[in-house]
């Protein structure tokens, strides 16, 4: 498998998933016309990494806006990571938020609250 790189646009995030380090980064805003189309390859990559490489995953998420259908897609990817974690995989999520950005902080907290993998909320 290859690394996954997606360039940032005004309405889609920059994605940088590295298969060698297991560091997965998402950054920017997300309100695509069709969230499933955008997140499909991201979710497939995570599944492939889990089945082919099976090494630790650190997911760094640094967003400034996401619409509801993107939020749902992030939840879908958390569910895959949860399964991996439950079956013994090493998963850590860092959710970064701008210090004064209550909405993004809250979105992250709500997304993370029903999972057992470690998730840390980090203000910047």
């Amino acid at each position: 498998m290859n690394n996954l790189k997606i360039q940032k646009t005004k309405y889609t995030m920059e994605v940088n998933f590295n298969k060698d380090t297991g560091i997965l980064e998402m950054e920017g805003s997300s309100y695509p016309e069709n969230a499933l189309d955008f997140f499909g390859p991201i979710i497939d990559w995570i599944k492939d990494y889990i089945s082919e490489i099976s090494k630790p995953i650190i997911l760094n998420i640094r967003l400034n806006y996401l619409n509801t259908s993107s939020t749902k897609c992030i939840l879908d990817s958390f569910e895959i990571l949860e399964q991996y974690f439950q079956s013994g995989g090493d998963v850590k999520i860092n959710w970064f938020y701008a210090e004064d950005d209550e909405d993004i902080k809250e979105t992250g907290e709500e997304l993370g609250e029903d999972f057992s993998f470690p998730i840390e909320y980090i203000a910047y």
Binding site: Y11, P32, E33, N34, A35, Y65, T68, D101, D103, E110
Partner: protein
């Protein structure tokens, strides 16, 4: 000539403090343009980024609702598909921002949306959070582009009820207007 009577239209827009008014097909390009406009316009006027972000996210959800669900479809030249058409207006009065959308909906969707709004409007902050969490976990319907969460999110961000108004247009379609307000130190 009707075109020359723009002054009357201009005066009405000024009276109503219209800060953004768009009628037509909401393509992704159009949406991004309007979102950028709101960001640059209001980032200067509002000191608190949270209010700008709430306004922006309400605007995007409502505009995407038009783009996805309006039964009035329009072809956009450079992309090979239809997008929804409608109207979206942002007004400001005494630091209260109102986002109002209008578009055609069919009977089936109209009933669903009205019941959805009525349900949302009876809920307090905590109930809305639970409703949102319940909906986000439901698996997505196959043909649904959005996650059916938009209006719950709109209500949560605004902290106010979603007002609505319906005008029947023909046998199958009605014009649905949805309106929400957002203001400083709401939800605090």
């Amino acid at each position: 000539m009707a075109e020359l009577e723009l002054f009357e239209y201009y005066r009405k827009m000024c009276e109503r403090n219209i800060v953004l008014d768009f009628q037509g097909a909401i393509s992704q390009d159009m949406l991004v343009g309007m979102a950028e406009l709101i960001k640059s316009k209001f980032s200067l006027e509002m000191h608190r980024t949270n209010l700008v972000k709430k306004l922006l996210s309400i605007f995007i959800e409502m505009a995407q609702n038009i783009a996805f669900y309006s039964t009035e479809r329009a072809r956009v030249d450079h992309i090979d598909k239809d997008v929804g058409a409608g109207i979206i207006v942002v007004t400001e009065k005494d630091k209260v921002y109102t986002i109002t959308s209008g578009n055609m909906v069919n009977k089936k969707n109209l009933l669903f949306i009205i019941e959805h709004c009525q349900k949302i409007n009876t809920m307090d902050k905590e109930e809305l959070k639970q409703f949102y969490k319940e909906k986000i976990k439901l698996s997505r319907k196959k043909d649904e582009k959005g996650a059916g969460l938009g209006l719950i999110d709109v209500a949560r961000k605004s902290g106010n009820p979603i007002q609505f108004n319906i005008t029947p247009v023909d046998e199958n379609n009605s014009f649905l207007v949805l309106s929400v307000k957002v203001q400083e130190d709401n939800n605090e």
